[in-house]
């Protein structure tokens, strides 16, 4: 395939002459390539690369709103390390992220298995189950805020009056014991369809012969799942789990709307802590240090994930 393409291009190059030298150095399509890529490059540089570098600089300053920044090196990072509120936010972020991702993974596998089984109206069901993923997250968070309401919320109504499981209502988001579980539940509700739909695509791509061969060899249903399905979707699983880990760790809106980090800091996760430090306490430099504190871990995750995503494409 590559050979005729190359021949063709060399013909085109030869027929036009002129800039053949540059073509040789920069590649046959360099002119159109650079024109087409220039807008993306501008976006990446001005909206991500520059702000990112600026963030690193600001995190090494004392920057109060309305004042010029004063360079202080790693002072913000060092102070944060021993700050009890920050430490709690780090722990909460990990609990929130891993709690959410594990349940999303489980429900996602379940959803994909159900949707690949012998059912009618498959695309209808798929469409229904994907709704949380497309609906505006703020709307979903507000819906749950209303359903979790301690006095008028429907969840307590169902549990106490209709099903009589609980003797009295629970302040789901206002009690330290249930707040974290509640925000995790909302994040799982919103995120599991993405896991499900990705695994579904992966399962569909597994050749039917593999299952038939396994069945002929006497493999049970469970063995086929373990030895055919799971290895078949392994790469997708790694990609989806890493993607979701990054997204969940940096999720701001669900926690911000449901609890703002309360009660008593029990759901204070790092993005909300960043926001509060920046716009509540007005300490911008320190706020960015919060956001960048785990940058090495984030960078490693992104590199690994990017490799897997590019590898997945090249097949």
């Amino acid at each position: 395939m590559a050979v005729p393409a190359a021949e063709l291009r060399s013909k085109v190059v030869a027929s036009r002459g002129g800039a053949a030298g540059l073509r040789h150095v920069l590649g046959p399509d360099y002119r159109m390539g650079y024109i087409f890529v220039a807008p993306i490059a501008l976006c990446v540089l001005s909206l991500v690369a520059y702000p990112f570098c600026y963030a690193i600089y600001l995190s090494m300053t004392h920057k109060l709103v309305g004042m010029p920044p004063i360079f202080v090196g790693f002072e913000n990072y060092i102070r944060l390390t021993w700050d009890g509120f920050f430490q709690r936010a780090v722990v909460n972020s990990f609990v929130f992220t891993f709690g959410s991702v594990i349940f999303k993974l489980g429900l996602g596998v379940l959803m994909a298995l159900v949707l690949t089984s012998n059912i009618r109206w498959r695309s209808f069901w798929t469409g229904v189950l994907l709704i949380p993923w497309v609906a505006p997250t703020v709307v979903s968070a507000l819906n749950f805020l209303w359903m979790f309401d301690g006095s008028l919320g429907v969840l307590n109504y169902l549990l106490v009056r209709v099903f009589r499981i609980l003797p009295q209502g629970v302040g789901w988001l206002s009690e330290p014991g249930t707040a974290m579980a509640s925000v995790v539940a909302v994040n799982v509700w919103r995120g599991f369809p993405f896991f499900g739909i990705s695994f579904l695509a992966g399962m569909k791509a597994i050749p039917a012969e593999l299952y038939e061969a396994a069945a002929v060899d006497g493999a049970s249903k469970l063995q086929r799942f373990r030895h055919v399905t799971l290895p078949g979707i392994k790469n997708i699983m790694i990609i989806v789990v890493l993607l979701s880990t990054i997204w969940t760790f940096n999720d701001f809106q669900i926690v911000y709307i449901l609890t703002k980090g309360g009660p008593g800091g029990t759901t204070m996760v790092m993005p909300v802590f960043t926001y509060e430090t920046a716009f509540g306490a007005q300490r911008l430099g320190e706020a960015i240090a919060v956001a960048l504190y785990l940058l090495p871990a984030l960078a490693v995750t992104i590199m690994v994930l990017a490799r897997y995503m590019r590898k997945g494409r090249r097949r």
Partner: protein, 279 residues
Amino acid sequence: MKRRRSATLETTLSYALLVVLAIAVLFPFYWMIVTSFKNETQMRSIVSMFWPRPFAIENYQLLLAKTEFASWYGNSVFVAVSSTLVATGVGTVGAYALARLKFFGRGFMASATLITYLVPPSILFIPLYKQMQGLGMANSLAGLIAAYPSFTVPFVTWLLMGYFESIPEELEEAAMIDGATRFGAFYRIVLPLSAPGVLAAGLYAFTQAWNEFLYALVFITDGRLRTLPVGLASFITGDVYGWGYLMSGAVLTTLPVIAAYIYLQKYMVEGLTAGSVKG
């Protein structure tokens, strides 16, 4: 005989799980709609809990007459449509170049775009805010339109790269043998063939911009200039929540996304699988 029975059992189990999942997924939306049609008395009492009797439309009237909801709607439409057009245009040509054209630096740009897509907004929102402030665009819709490509463009580009790579290269080669230029092959052959993919990518970009919360919360300080997500969330900062009109606002905010989704569901599922996480 035994196999058939276990197959029936499996199907029954599948349907049972489907129904449970579907109820869990749909109940919040059902509850949102029911709440939006209840008046204050119905809300406080426990009568007509699961179905509003009578249907009250006063929440919607209140929302449109007494709050700034209508202008937030306009703002959201303006910001989401503008940034979608920018992202789709920039992303389409960029993705084609990265997927097909041979030039020095292509691999680097492809990696940079992907990594950009993975950098979370929680790192970027403060410096971007300072940047927009410096440009005098902090408290304006223009600032949001300028900032949203930071996530829509890399996403659309990455999605469409996969799409373009799945179109056989021979089609362009044939067109070029017949005398088409490289650009002609892109414009006349590849672009029409990828219309569904471009449409799906654009729709994604639209929902992402429509749903965006953090930048809009931070950048916009003027109440009238809010977008819908921030406007809706601002209803809960007061002491009295007013769940009725909040939920009617939530219904109206969800409608365009769901309508677009129903229409393009097939493309979205395909786009999602062919584009974002193929492998």
